[in-house]
Structure formats: C-alpha cells, structure tokens
Symmetry: C2
Subunit: 394 residues, 2 copies
C-alpha cells in the first residue's frame, strides 16, 4: 500500500504535500512571472551586514566558541533578552524566561501542536489559514472548525485556537480590534490556548498597528504568566528565511514544556544563526525600512494593475502590509483551474485559494504575492491574469 | 495540575527533562572538572575555516542569494549529492534523492519517530540507549523492549528498531558484525524499519571500521530502495554542533514522506549552515584528523587514569572511538548517588547511567566523556572519582 517494506504510523495518511513548496522548485524557471509563493526577495536581504556579523563573531575567539557550540535549547540568552525587550516595548511585557527560540516560526507551530493536540481534537481557526500551520496540525490528526461569529463555541470544544492577526497568509488582511477581543473572549470561555502567528506583524506599510493578541491578553489577564496566548514570531520575513530563527513568547510553564519538546525535536537552533540575527537586530527597524519601502511599492503596483485589468465581479483584499493579495472570483470560476491555466497559458505562477481551507473550501479564490515581482512584472503578470479572467468569465 | 490555564496533550506526561541538557547549563562553572556531557570541544572546531567559508559564500552575489533564501525542504542539492557520494564510498550505494538534510541528527530521530510510531507501539533498542532518541520516541508515547539475544521477537512485535552501531552514546562500544547481522535478521523477521544512529562513526581512533547497518542491508536486500534501514548522520561531532546539519539516508519513498514531516516541523534547515558544511566537507577527513588525534589522546589519558585509580570491582568500556567511557560499579553502588557525590564533594561532573535506560535500568553505572577534559583534568578528575569509589565501596 505504501510502497515501503514497513508500516507507517496512521498520522501519515493525514499528510499531503504542499503545492507551494512544490511550486517553489519551479522558481528557477526564468520565463515565468512569479505571483505565487510568498518568498522574501533575496535582493532585499542585507547581505553585507550578514557577512560583517559573521566575520565579527568568528574573529573573536570568545564569541566564536559560543557561536560554534550547542546553544541552550531555550535559545541564545542575549537573543532571548532582545526579543523579550522588543515584545515589552510593543505592549506585551515579558522577560527572557518567557521566550523560546525556535528553528523558524514553523517549528513554533509544530511544538505548540505537540503540546496541546491529540488525534481527534478540534482546532478553531480563520478560514482560509496558513498551509504550514495546517500541516503541523494535520500531523496530530485533528479536525477543524472556523471561528464562530457569535459566542457559541464549536462542539466538541476546540483544544486550540490559531490566528494570524496581522496581514495573514493567505489573505493579507488584519483581524480588527473587536475581532481580537472576540477571539480572546472565546478562548476565555473555552479555557483554550490561542496560538498567535505574528510572522508578518513588522511588515506594515501604512496604517496604525493594533496590539497583538498577546498584548491584549496580558492586559486582560494581568500578566503573561496568566495568559493563554502563545505568540510565534520570526526573523524570516525581515532579515532572511535561511537563518531559521523564530521564537515563541508565552507563560514560563508553557516555555518549560515547549523546551522539552524542542530538545526532542532538534536539541537547539543554530547558534551562529542566532548570533547573526542578534547582531542585525540591533538596528532592525532602520535596517528593514528599505525592504518595507520596496514591498510597499510592489503592493501599490499590484493593486493598481488589478484595478486596471480585472473584470467586474472579481474582488480582492487591499492589504496594509504583509506579502499577499487575496482574489475572489465569481462562484462559477474555480481557482485551481484558473491557477493551472495561468501557469500553462500565461506563464504566471499563482496559488489556488482552495489549498488554504482545511474545511468548507471557497474554491473561487486565488492567492497572489507581490514579494518577488518587480513593478513591471506585476503589471505584466496582472495584465495576463486579467485577460484570462475576462476569457473564463465570458 | 499542570500550572497552566489550559489542558496539555496526554503525550506531555511521558516527557521528562534531560539531566544532561540541564547539566550543560553548569558548564560555565570553571572550578568543575567536566567528565559528564559529551560536548565537542570548541577548541577543536576549525573556526578559521568557518569564517573563510562564510565570507566566500556571502561575498559572491549568486551564492549569497542562495545562502540567505529558504533551502529546499529536502536540503541544499549539492550537499545532498556530497552526502550520497560519501555513503556510496563507504559501501552504501545511494543517490542524492535518498538523502534528506535534517536540523541536526536529532531531527532525523524525531521525524522517523513520527513516521512509524503511534501511542502504545514498542521500540526495540539497545540497553542503555541515547537519551535524545528516547525523548523523541517518548513524544509518541511508546513502550520499549531490549534487542533479544536469540531470534524470538518481543511480543507485541516492535514497530521500530533503534541502534547506534559505532561508539554509541552512552557506552562507547560497537555492535559486532555478527550483532549487526542479527539485528537485520530480526528486522527482516518483523518487517521492521531499523533506525541507525551513525553520529559517531567518523570518530574512530583505532581498529577497522565495520560496514554500517545501511551498507549491510543494501547488500542483503539488493539496493537501498528495498532496504528497511534508515540511517541518521551529522556534522555535529566533526565540524561543530552549532551548524545543526544532519541527514537521513533511506529509500526514496521514505525520504518523500520524511520530507512532508520536515515541512511541517521546520520547513527547511538553515541554508548558510548547509553551504558552510559543504565547503568544509570538501576535505573533511584531513580537516578532522587533528580532532581525532586530540580525542584519541584524551581517551588514552582517561583509560590510563581509570586503570591507575579505580578499585577492583569497577569495570569500564575501552572504546575505539566516540566520546564516552561506560563504568560499571559493583551492584551495591548506585550511579545516581555516585554522580551526585562526585559533583558535590569532588567537583567532578559525570552522568549517572540509569538515565539511559527506558526499562530495566542498571543503576550501578556511570557515563564518562573524555571530549572536554584536558589530559591533566582527566587524570585529576579520575583520581578524585577513584577516591570516591574507594570510599563508597568501603
């Protein structure tokens, strides 16, 4: 059955591949216009600063000794302190002991899934949601429910809520302040942990930041030690994804248990990577301003092109940050068919929206990303997608 | 019950902390003699070569672009090819498609545990075994059985066999060729995958290398695609553990499924780390010869000191490689008590042997590591341990 000479665990039947990761392999194909995968653009990485940080760390014998040895499982101490200080400055008071450094924020999602989920449990989440989170939950063989509009919790009661309040993958939209409070009300009612995916929160191009779920719940509960929110963050979208440096912020007993799971998962995250991240974090906001400016321009170009080329009846999100625009076609148009034809006939890579729904898929949807396309490519790519949409919508 | 405002998954009750990882935190205490944790000695890391490799990669725009972007989940292509060529040269013919790069070999153990194990399953392993492997298996809420001497498999039939054939942690001993064949016979009889932990196999200081379980099974089955062996390796003990670059070698369908699990676990391993490892791997055997020479001298010093200072009735392993010596006291001496007194009264850090047994603990045991101690420290440390042993054995 499996093509293997031994039996697999039942969880393996729940696990499918990722269209996006597969599509990333096509990134080398130069003739394509890439409006699909939400990869950071390497041209925006501060490569010189990486080189400088690595050289400085490895040239100092005391630093080099630390940089090449195992890091503590909880993470490099000074980096944990930096992260705690940053969250504190953002309205979520916490200490280094509230921080676990993870191998990218994906590992944070995986560890939290292991911490609270068992086969048959229900995860309550936004529809659509980030595919990487769905895969981490799928490994635990869970069911899914959407976040209800009112205060009636799904039945059976969910064991975990998952949300990306800022510019989430795939829609690029934000959860309103009222929506954040509503989610925390539901978590209180269900005594349910909330996994907050904060990986795009520093990619804001306009508008006023909203407090994170962690910040709101700390106020609500009177401190991080009483909060049910588990906040995941990362340097992947700000510095470079290759570092694989993310973090979890949560109450200390949560961090202690996640640390045990991390020891079993990969012992510790890369030390040199953590030290490079810390070196660049010293002026993170200044350092990443050009990146935000570039993405802002690309977003503007994509939104302008959509307004120019899309037929009436197609709608889309107008994100204030992040990397994604979410398109909704009339119900008769299948996003998978559209994405397939866009790639084959128009040479434009996109991602069909259906993949982001674990239940109740709205198949007339499409995810676009503006992270990799030049302004010219965005115009040309959207022009071609508009032509296809006109054709398919008759 | 948990000190948390939400419920944990049942698996969390199976997971204890690691005495070793906790003890590593005491490494900063300079007055201690460290014969405990099996940490590589940072003085032996090729720091200059790390600096050179990082500088070269980041100075070349095309390389830097790759180095700072997400790696493929399967791993950096040229590194996979290098690993496959090395295994092939060691008698285990395979291709790059048979290799998954992992975030240290610990991640390989964790992914394989997820691949085949469910709650209640039995893992068959050597007693004692590596604690990191036990933790990865514990997360799946398994039971344990020792490897039987004959051909009668444990009942119920194990779902996975785990072995470290070369200089394993904690004993430093090797599985004989007959022992390797016996284990593969059992795996054949039980149609059971064998997870081979090869993380010390390049740390041989004398004697003739034996073929790996993977090499033997490839011969036995007629090719890696029909082999049940899943081989885990790492650069952690050769170059530096901070890189977090390990690998799995197995049949392609196994690699495909482990890749799905890796995507859910951390998406990909660090790209710069993988490229640095590949750069240093070009002359790995030459580069690591001084490290083997240093560990050989330290091993010799520890074995000489043991012969000089230990009372009759204490026995120990005489490893041909690796980082560990395994002591067995008379049955009346508890290894935990001994390690506690050694630390408190003698200022010598060791690890009690009981922690390495998931069942049927032989508590009159102790793990020593010679990786971190200078020749002088080994002599002085063992002298003190000998004094304590004399005292405790009356």
């Amino acid at each position: 059955m499996t093509g293997l000479p031994f039996a697999l665990a039942p969880r393996m039947t729940a696990l499918g591949g990722s269209e996006i990761r597969e599509r990333m392999k096509r990134l080398g194909e130069r003739d394509l216009i890439h409006l699909g995968g939400g990869l950071p653009d390497p041209i925006l990485f501060p490569t010189g600063r990486f080189a400088e940080a690595a050289a400085t760390i490895l040239a100092d014998p005391a630093q080099a000794r630390i940089a090449l040895s195992y890091a503590p499982s909880e993470g490099h101490g000074p980096l944990r302190a930096w992260i705690a200080a940053r969250l504190t400055a953002r309205g979520a008071p916490c200490r280094a002991a509230n921080i676990l450094v993870t191998t990218g924020s994906q590992q944070g999602l995986d560890l939290v899934a292991k911490l609270v989920l068992s086969a048959g449990d229900t995860v309550m989440l936004e529809l659509p949601s980030f595919i990487g989170a769905l895969r981490a939950f799928d490994v635990q063989q869970v069911r899914y429910a959407g976040i209800p509009e009112g205060y009636r919790l799904p039945d059976p009661a969910p064991r975990l809520a998952y949300a990306g309040p800022d510019f989430r993958n795939p829609t690029g939209t934000c959860l309103s302040l009222a929506g954040r409070d509503h989610l925390l009300d539901l978590a209180d009612a269900g005594a349910m942990p909330v996994l907050e995916d904060g990986c795009y929160e520093d990619l804001r191009y306009e508008g006023t930041p909203l407090p994170s779920l962690l910040a709101l719940d700390i106020r609500r509960q009177g401190g991080i030690e009483r909060s049910r929110v588990i906040h995941a963050g990362t340097f992947s979208k700000l510095l470079a994804p290759a570092l694989r440096v993310g973090w979890i912020a949560a109450a200390e007993p949560v961090i202690a248990r996640l640390t045990l799971l991390k020891q079993a998962a990969d012992l510790a995250s890369g030390t040199l990577d953590q030290m490079i991240a810390l070196a660049l974090a010293q002026d993170l906001d200044t350092l990443t301003e050009p990146l935000r400016a570039a993405y802002r321009d690309r977003r503007d170009a994509m939104l302008a092109a959509l307004a120019e080329h899309m037929p009436e009846g197609v709608t889309w999100s107008r994100p204030e940050g992040g990397l994604y625009v979410w398109l909704t076609f009339p119900e008769t148009i299948d996003g998978g068919t559209f994405a397939g034809r866009a790639l084959a006939e128009q040479g434009v890579a996109t991602i069909s929206g259906g993949a982001f729904y674990p239940i109740e898929a709205q198949r007339n949807t499409l995810r676009l990303s503006f992270s990799l396309a030049s302004i010219e490519d965005a115009h040309e790519g959207i022009r071609r997608l508009g032509r296809l949409a006109h054709e398919m919508m008759g």
